[in-house]
């Protein structure tokens, strides 16, 4: 219903029932694969419903901001619905501190709107560009997982558009099976059209952040133990440090600050080009990691930081994924149980450090409780995340990391994954069978599907 100079559709186009489709190439944040697919970009519910009638009988997947790293958001050769323009805040109840949103609303939207009113999404991933639909589908977590759990723990209900066109509201009270299958359900149970989320009161727009050097892995784990009562805690590990320094890094803990910071418009920079492969080598990454370590004084430091800076440190650099060059990178993130966790982390770090694949800072966190979704990632223990540039030979490293994780009784995070084997998945996610049963009730023909679901044997 609007207006522009027009050029008539050439060839690839189709408009079916009020929604347009076109061929596009999609990639995820890791940029390791670029796949062609048919895409619709509905702007209203009527168009979203029309998008269920996929041309050529293709299978469908919902794609939010595309900030997951592997292939969970890709559907090569099939079709996707982009939710970026379904971005309305539908309801806000100040007394209950609940907000209802469309799936394309981002964490940045919620912070812009609600932080000035003293409310914050209780759980935030490492970037504010993630959509709420993606946050539910991957049951994301943040630096306060040990304290407040996963994103799905704060979701009161979801509206789900099923592949047959039925609209269903799911929650713990109504249809708990489908609710738990959808949280962390990597988009396979239906299209989320509305999310009701509980927000958390905060005294100001800032937190007091403490940073301390941790000299090795044991010191780090002891640091986490000590910081168990902290509201937020996260560790940055120098993944190239070896020997006695293995696992050295910076432990950050944070508490809400009663006193705020005058809001300043943040000027985001953009990573200007695809870095050539030679820029990222052992020496340059080692130098970067060492500088990061030394930035924090030996005696530690304490600073007042706005939530945005603390929660989303990389958002100030748009397109930072281009740092890894054209070939892209893979991210590995696993969680291992507390018992035997230290030994497993040591083996993982040794494998990375020995592989010679330069990895920037790795992130270490303690996790407090399991997610409520059948395919939720979280479990009590330690989670380790690191980037590995995509190079010939990194497949062997990922296979080794998968084996170590599995032997430790841990699991790999689907939002980051692009290499996990179907057998490894089945072993790490014991509720996958139940998930498939519930999925079969709402989508027996697997009309919703993804590169990841096919790779992991979910169909």
């Amino acid at each position: 219903m609007q207006d522009m100079a027009t050029i008539e559709p050439k060839s690839t186009t189709a408009s079916r029932g009020g929604v347009g489709w076109k061929r596009i190439e999609l990639t995820s944040w890791g940029r390791t694969s670029r796949t062609p697919c048919l895409a619709a970009r509905p702007e209203r519910m009527r168009e979203l419903r029309a998008a269920l009638d996929v041309p050529e009988g293709r299978r469908l997947l919902v794609h939010g901001a595309g900030r997951s790293y592997g292939d969970v958001c890709l559907n090569g050769g099939e079709a996707v619905v982009l939710t970026g323009r379904l971005d309305r805040i539908l309801d806000f109840d100040p007394a209950a501190a609940t907000v209802t949103v469309e799936p394309g609303v981002t964490f940045a939207d919620l912070l812009d709107t609600f932080l000035p009113r003293g409310l914050l999404p209780p759980v935030s991933p490492g970037t504010a560009f993630v959509t709420m639909g993606g946050a539910v589908a991957n049951d994301v977590h943040g630096k306060n997982q040990h304290h407040l759990g996963c994103f799905g723990d704060h979701v009161l209900w979801l509206d789900l558009l099923l592949p047959d066109g039925e609209m269903r509201r799911v929650s713990e009270a109504e249809d708990p099976d489908l609710f738990r299958a959808t949280i962390g359900g990597i988009g396979l149970t239906g299209i989320i059209t509305a999310i009701c989320l509980r927000l958390m009161p905060v005294p100001s727009n800032a937190l007091v952040v403490r940073r301390r050097r941790m000299t090795d892995l044991d010191a780090f784990l002891a640091g986490f133990e000590e910081a168990a009562g902290a509201s937020w805690s996260v560790g940055w590990i120098d993944a190239l440090a070896q020997g006695a320094a293995l696992g050295r890094g910076i432990l950050e803990t944070a508490e809400p600050s009663p006193q705020g910071i005058a809001p300043r418009p943040e000027r985001a920079r953009r990573f200007p080009f695809d870095a050539p492969g030679w820029m990222l080598n052992r020496a340059s990454v080692r130098a970067f990691n060492a500088a990061y370590w030394r930035r924090v004084p030996a005696g530690g430091e304490e600073r007042l930081l706005p939530y945005r800076k603390f929660l989303y440190p990389l958002d100030a650099m748009h397109g930072w994924n281009r740092m890894y060059g054209r070939a892209g990178f893979r991210q590995f993130q696993c969680v291992v149980p507390q018992a035997g966790g230290a030994a497993a982390l040591r083996r993982l770090l040794e494998a990375v450090s020995a592989s010679g694949d330069a990895s920037f800072l790795a992130v270490l966190k303690s996790m407090g409780r399991a997610g409520r979704g059948l395919l939720s990632f979280a479990m009590p223990g330690y989670t380790l995340a690191l980037d590995v540039p995509a190079r010939p030979g990194s497949a062997a490293l990922f296979a080794a990391l998968e084996r170590i994780t599995l032997e430790a009784g841990g699991r790999i995070y689907l939002a980051k994954d692009s290499t996990l084997s179907a057998a490894g998945f089945a072993a790490m996610y014991p509720d996958a069978g139940r998930f498939q049963k519930i999925r079969a009730q709402v989508d027996p023909q697997h009309r919703l599907s993804s590169d990841m679901s096919r790779r992991l044997g979910l169909g």
């Binding site: 609007q2 207006d3 522009m4 100079a5 050029i7 008539e8 559709p9 347009g20 702007e43 309305r88």
Partner: protein, 246 residues
């Protein structure tokens, strides 16, 4: 007293972006269109994000008989200045309009007759209020008829001409009228098309439109690059123009 923007065709990509821009500047909104489910969602979003008043209203550009009462309603609801953003319009393929006179007539009715009807109904109200701004979406397609969309272009050319006289009339009452000759935007309507030149997002367009609406009147190309482009295209001799595949 907050100004009010009446959005005609409020569910369109551009109107949505302009409404957010207006709300961010503290304006109240009347969201007029046919898709009430969508307008309810949009109104809630504007209220929650920006703390302004936003009301969905049923409006059909082709239901001429209802226009007078609709304008009465808007007049009663707008406590401060009443401003108008006219964004409705349809764009069926030229070939379809050639085949089916009903399709052609419906487009002319929505894009031009409907616009003329609602603007005529609004004129006395705006004159009586002695102020406000009318922003209407024209199109570069109205500058010269091209084989691909000359009927659509003709409806916009008619709108441009209408707005010239309308602007002159309302200027006597201190009402500013701005005709935006829009280039290509990345909207639901253009989504199925291949990537087009000088395409801007609705947000970019709306931000520029807001700045123009604050002071401008007359007509303006948006984005500005379309002024030199269309100047050249308008001046091409017919024997060359007719051979080009524009």
């Amino acid at each position: 007293m907050s100004p009010t923007w009446l959005m005609l065709g409020a569910s369109s990509s551009v109107a949505r972006a302009f409404a957010r821009e207006a709300a961010a500047h503290g304006a109240d909104l009347l969201l007029a269109g046919r898709d009430m489910e969508d307008l309810e969602r949009q109104a809630a979003d504007l209220r929650i994000r920006h703390g302004v008043q936003a009301v969905p209203l049923r409006f059909d550009a082709r239901d001429f008989a209802a226009h007078a009462a609709f304008v009465q309603d808007c007049d009663a609801r707008a406590k401060g200045t009443l401003n108008v953003f006219l964004a409705f319009g349809t764009m069926p393929a030229q070939a379809e309009a050639d085949r089916d006179p009903g399709v052609a007539a419906a487009m002319v009715e929505a894009n031009f007759t409907g616009a003329a009807s609602i603007l005529a109904a609004l004129a006395p109200v705006l004159e009586a209020r002695r102020g406000g701004t009318v922003v209407a979406l024209g199109s570069v397609a109205g500058d010269r008829g091209r084989p691909r969309n000359y009927l659509y272009g003709a409806t916009k050319a008619a709108l441009h001409t209408y707005l010239q006289g309308y602007a002159a009339r309302l200027s006597r009452a201190g009402v500013r009228v701005l005709c935006l000759k829009a280039g290509v935007m990345d909207t639901a309507m253009t989504w199925p098309l291949p990537r087009l030149p000088f395409m801007v997002s609705p947000q970019e367009f709306a931000a520029a439109a807001w700045r123009l609406a604050e002071r401008g009147s007359g007509s303006a190309y948006l984005p500005r690059i379309w002024w030199p482009v269309m100047t050249v295209i308008r001046m091409l001799p017919a024997r060359i123009f007719n051979r080009l595949d524009l």
